[in-house]
């Protein structure tokens, strides 16, 4: 074999060896646990904190309101849709107040007239005309609209 080729092969061998060593040390440890990705990523993603705690947790302390709501037409409307994520509040209610949406615009997000909203699923009102100028909650209880 000519000298040049020998030297070149040597150079390539060194290069490939370096690549293999790098590959060995840089490959993350849980690689290929399930597939061509880091297996640990699954636990990392599932380890994130949940911000919405769902109705059962609220009901532990606010049982009257929860009870009220279960009897009304807003039964399927989760507390946290209106009050915002409750993970901090549920842990420490005194220092973490939730938002209380009292303005008309809030209820109208769901209840404005729009032909695209199915009429049989939700009752819609004319945003301007329906008891103009008054907050919805003066007549409707948000936790049980017909009270």
């Amino acid at each position: 074999m000519p000298l040049q080729v020998k030297r070149l092969l040597l150079a390539f061998a060194v290069f490939i060896a370096i690549m293999l060593v790098l590959k060995y040390f840089l490959t993350p440890d849980s690689w290929r646990e399930y597939g061509a990705y880091r297996g640990k990523a699954l636990t990392e993603i599932s380890g994130k904190e949940a911000k919405y705690v769902e109705m059962e947790t609220c009901a532990e302390c606010h049982d009257t309101i929860a009870g009220l709501k279960t009897q009304g037409l807003h039964v399927s409307v989760q507390c946290e849709i209106c009050h915002g994520p409750g993970y901090k509040h549920a842990d420490d209610p005194d220092n973490n107040d939730l938002e209380i949406p009292r303005e008309r615009q809030f209820c109208l997000r769901c209840h404005t007239k729009n032909m695209a909203s199915p009429q049989d699923i939700i009752k819609q009102i004319d945003a301007v005309e329906h008891n103009e100028g008054e907050e919805c909650i003066t007549c409707h209880n948000p936790h049980q609209p017909w009270l």
Binding site: P2, L3, Q4, V5, R7, L8, A11, F12, F15, M19, L22, K23, L26, T27, P28, W31, A36
Partner: protein
């Protein structure tokens, strides 16, 4: 973020909310552009060597060094565009084999290390040995290191150089095809995007790469001779121009074929693409890519095949044509990369893209990655001057 709000205000029809932001900006336009220049310049060198076209001899080393200079920065637009540029190494360490992009690192390494470097090395090895004997101090050491400390100048060793150099050129042609066809595949394999997803994409990319690479070498050859105050070999230029003409025709035919197919088939995406090409892409597509980049060069070169004006006129024409072609191919990449993101995959509307000429990082970086290769080339030519090569005896 402001530019996004501006795009939001100027939305045309409906677009998925996540599509308002164009993810692949000017830098990704530069990436196939530069890789194309590499592949094209290399193919010109191979034409000379494999098919033994003597007239191209003066450009052989220049095209190889040009290819190398651009190859060295070819990955940079891609890397600087990444959201996490420092994680780039992952592509080589844990390549995901179903991804066209993951293979890029390997295609690139193969082409750079095995094809380009080796071909240049075999071509220059003998000269570098001689230079290392002539020079002193650091340069002596440098050349010696470049020769891998081989100081063999015997005729047999030169024969070996010749033999292997030729062999690598032969491997090099499919490799250059692979390199750029593969870049086309990155786009052509995205089934989600009807503007990209065509089997013709790799082929079109390949031929446009050859066109642009040949034009670049033509330009650089003239520029170098101008700077060195040497006379340009007009016969060589004529030959390059002839090949440029042929390949331009091929390229244009293929691209037209693709468009005609698209127009005739008129599948579900056709309506939106028609509006795209006639509207947002009108300037870059019809005027820059087709007009300036293709039709004007083809007609001029075509006429020059039959009627040869004075040498000076021809040189000026060649200079203009090479620049036109380079600009045209740039806009071809633009139309592919940017054009493919301007319309919504819902087929109901468009977003917009404005290049931030002042202060945009994408523009300054793109310019940088286009200018740096010329400095590298200057360095390479200083290091390995083609005209100081030991002239070979022909037997």
């Amino acid at each position: 973020m402001e530019s996004l709000y501006e795009a939001l205000a100027n939305l045309d029809g409906f677009i998925y909310p996540n599509e308002i932001a164009l993810n692949w900006d000017l830098l990704i336009v530069m990436y196939p552009y530069i890789t194309g220049l590499v592949a094209g310049a290399f193919i010109l060198a191979s034409l000379n060597r494999v098919f033994d076209i003597k007239a191209l001899k003066p450009t052989y080393e220049i095209s190889l060094l040009t290819a190398l200079a651009f190859m060295l920065v070819a990955t940079m637009p891609l890397i600087t565009h990444l959201g996490q540029p420092l994680r780039f190494y992952e592509m080589l360490i844990t390549p995901h084999l179903t991804s066209a992009m993951a293979i890029f690192g390997f295609v690139y390494l193969w082409y750079l290390m095995v094809v380009l470097l080796l071909e240049i090395w075999f071509d220059y090895r003998y000269d570098m040995v001689i230079w290392s004997q002539q020079k002193k101090g650091f340069m002596k050491f440098f050349y010696k290191a470049l020769t891998l400390w081989i100081s063999d100048t015997s005729p047999e060793s030169r024969k070996t150089d010749e033999k292997f150099g030729y062999f690598i050129t032969v491997i090099g042609i499919p490799s250059a095809f692979l390199l750029h066809g593969y870049v086309g595949f990155i786009f052509g394999s995205i089934k989600a995007n009807p503007w990209w997803s065509t089997v013709m994409m790799p082929v079109i990319f390949l031929f446009s790469a050859m066109v642009s690479g040949i034009a670049l070498v033509m330009f650089i050859y003239m520029a170098i001779n101008y700077l060195r105050r040497k006379k340009t070999d007009i016969f060589c230029l004529d030959t390059i121009a002839k090949y440029l003409f042929y390949i331009l025709i091929l390229d244009f035919t293929l691209e037209s074929l693709d468009q005609i197919h698209r127009i005739y088939e008129a599948d579900e995406s056709f309506d939106i693409l028609k509006i795209l090409v006639r509207g947002k892409l009108f300037f870059t597509f019809f005027i820059m890519q087709i007009g300036i980049g293709t039709l004007i060069p083809i007609t001029t070169l075509g006429v020059l095949q039959f009627k040869k004006p004075r040498e000076r006129t021809r040189k000026i024409l060649y200079l203009i044509i090479s620049i036109f072609v380079l600009v045209g191919i740039f806009f071809m990449r633009w139309n592919v990369v940017i054009g493919g993101q301007l319309f919504s995959k819902s087929f109901y509307g468009f977003t917009s893209y404005k290049v931030n000429l002042i202060g945009g990082t994408d523009v300054s970086l793109s310019l940088l990655w286009f200018i740096v290769p010329f400095f590298i080339l200057a360095f390479l030519i200083w290091l390995l001057p083609p005209w100081k090569k030991f002239v070979e005896k022909t037997n």
